[in-house]
Amino acid sequence: MTVLTEIESDLERALRVLEPLTPYAEVMAESTGGLRLRLDRESRAATPSPALEGAAFRAWSNDMWLETVASGLTSRTLAGAAEALADRLRSAPRGGRPPGEPATGSGERSTVEQRREEDFSLDERIAWAKERFDWATAVPGVTNAFVLVQSIQDDRLFRSTAGARAYQRFHRMVGQVLCLAIENGKVETDYVGEGRTGGVEVLDLIDRPRVEQAARDAVALLSATSPPAGRMHVILDPSTTGTFAHESFGHGTEADQILRDRSYLKPLLGTMVGPEELTIVDNGAYDGGWGQIYFDDEGTPAQRTVLVDRGRFVEVLHDRETAAALGRQPTGNARRADFLSRSFVRMTNTYVEPGDWSLDELVREAKDGVLLEHFKNGIEDPLGGNMQLKVAKGRRIVDGELRDILPSMALSGRVLEFLPAIRGISKPADFWISPGFCGKGHTDLIVNGSGGPYLLSEAVVGPA
């Protein structure tokens, strides 16, 4: 990986080419690396992450942003991308200033790895993965297990003609065990997975009890009955609560959608939208969260932004442009998936803050319904205000008790009907942030954390 500070003079030189042609220009240079090890009963593959390096240049031209991208970080490729952008600036109308105020600060931050990856040998990784494979496949009925251990290194350096300089180095670690049970052509799976910003210590979270539980549940799903369908009480587990926060409030509070008049939340700012127990936060500064960043890709420091404060919708997420349009300050949410992708207002770690119920109390309160566990996906509907969440499994709730296991299900419904129906949120001990990837539309996938504790509400659920 290129050490980004060693090419800083090339970045400065490139910005100087642009400076006379635009009121503002910036560059985000990126270098990535890491290693992915994946094994199952049949094969084992160790794959270094693609060594991708490059830089995105952005400049304001009259009434819009223009961008070019360099593949590679040599003096030649950087100068070439800057010159291509300069050509476009020269041929475009002059005048106008970019919206909002640019970041001007300077900083350097790196992930603290409690146990450094460089001390985690390749043989140790294989041993870690084999041990989880053995735990899973020792459970009767489990035919195979896919084990993944992956490190991700992502270094970014932001410079602008306004003087901002933000250098950040992320290290993320992922561990996952997918347990497979097959019978008569029917295939069922369950998994345990964690991903956090940090070092090898993250892998300690994939312990034997969790792997064995996932293995037992994969087998149990082979004979599970179809889930109930229709409107019912639902308890979301922490990972699903996080997806709810992400899909319901996260996308709708990205302020560019509000400026596009494409958010069902726009007329609700300042109003009560849920019970007083409900607080939803986006927090790029959440230490260890999968979506943790130190600066956004406009150079603004990451921060904790309360979106829903005790039931009241109080704030949205901003980049410099939306903050200026709505008279607010940037919240550190301008993010690029990578140097090849544009900057958008995006979430970081989005979560529901804990309440004071226990899971047992929530189950008794629900009386009948389903517990939704292990989120798999979600999708937003920022204008229509609907949401859909899919989970890998669940439990039937009958007479205030958790009963038999249920196969994958989807929840759908209107957010503004789901919120008032919230009847309880569990305690801090249940709180957890899960790793995920989020697109804006169907593209531009970025790392996002989402989390919370258990949450009881009401929604439409069906097989999926």
């Binding site: 049949e42 094969s43 084992r44 593959a45 160790a46 794959t47 270094p48 693609p50 060594a51 991708l52 490059g54 819009m64 961008e67 070019t68 991208v69 360099a70 593949s71 590679g72 070439g80 291509a84 195979n144 497979l180 052509g185 029917k186 295939v187 069922e188 799976t189 369908a229 229709g230 409107r231 560019d256 959608q257 400026l259 008049d261 494409r262 090849l340 544009r342 798999k376 996906n377 999708i379 509907d381 204008l383 229509g384 609907n386 859909q388 196969p407 994958s408 299900m409 989807a410 759908s412 209107r414 539309g441 169907h442 593209t443 996938l445 439409v460 659920v461 069906g462 097989p463 999926a464």
Partner: protein
Amino acid sequence: MTAAPSAAFTAYRVGDRLRPRTEAPWEVFGERMRRYEVHLNGRRVELVRGPIHLEGFGLRLFRAEGGEMRVGFAASNDLSDAGIDAALAAAGSAGRLSRFPARRVDLPSSVAAHALPVENRDPALWDRPVETLDAFREALLAPFDARKDEVPSFGSLRVTLTETTLTNSEGIQRAYAHTLCDLELAVKATGGPEGAAPGEYWVNARQRRLESRGLGARVDAWCRRAQDVRRTKAPATGATTVVLPPTVLADILPAILGYRFSGAAELRKMSFPSGARVGSEAVSISDDGRFPFGPGTAPFDDEGIPQARTPLLAKGTVSGSLDDLLYAAALGHTTTGNGRRDSLAFSPWSHFELAPSPQPTTLVVAPGSGGSDAELAEAVQEGLWVDQLGYAFPDPASSAFGGEIRVAYRIHRGKIAEPVRGGTLGGVVLAPPGEPSLLADARAIGGSSELTGSLASPPWIIDRMAVAGG
């Protein structure tokens, strides 16, 4: 190369560097890309991106040892000598840790079957990308000028021009040029009866060409659906007969059948054997790597094997599977030319970062006897015509799928009736005999096909689909 290549052939340059430095069999896949994007905010262009240059390679080293194959893969966009050497070293290290149950792999040689040309490139876009993209943007937005109640609220047009090259230690050299166009557009509808909330229809399309012809009619259809969304009711709960058009099936079938009908699934005992009955007689499906303008269409796959047509399901009976070189070797098969560096989950626009695996190209469902759309509705009598799910969330392992019904229409007395939205629809694509599944419960297939994403199919009538409504 079906278009004028640039002076530099990415894979060949890397191959020249590798040849004297490694004795193990090797392969290099290279891509040199230019990408241009226009991002919309309403009718206004808010961001123009490009040229976005990306040039990179993925290399594999193969070493047979102890009855297994050790395959090392590394990818990089650093084409300097030092960058290529670093990738070679990384692939060597990775290979030592990897193992795959194939005794040997036969890389295609320069005398291997010749690949015939295919249609996978928009010539105008290739020659004049900025002008062609601008012209398409204007053609796309023009129909909205006359509309006061429907606007594009969010969207982007992204085009990628790629020179793909491949070489290996057997001396093969292959190259072709292709284009890829991604359109995302949210159409917002307002107006009409006071108090009705705005509606939105989401368009997401990947094609080989920027096709302006018929755009006005397509925009009309999108706007109509965006308006329909505003006057929907939730569906009823229960087992329902539904019609799934290719726009819905394209999110389900390639991801699930592409895996479960592959060597990767067979090796892990997750596939059904050839001759097994898994679907109704109405269903016949092939994979066609040469389908005109299919997103997966190419003269050869990402290992240098000519792409072809492979039958997967004939009248409901398993008739074939998809293989790449490694899985074919492990299973005693012959590769079907489906060694592809792709991900149906993420639809990447560059592929050199990924190692090949058996993947579908374009799934082609044979037209059936169900007739026109009107005849399909007539055959259903009472049910749902599902136009769009929020997302179908296909699970390749379990074959489960399901999601929120974003736009559907009730079929009442054999006619398309009022719009429906909300609730979920789901099930599994494959199930043991006697259990409900999308393939087993396919009662009829329509008579005319449409290419949507990686699927060319008519609409299907499915009985017993689980719908959870209000």
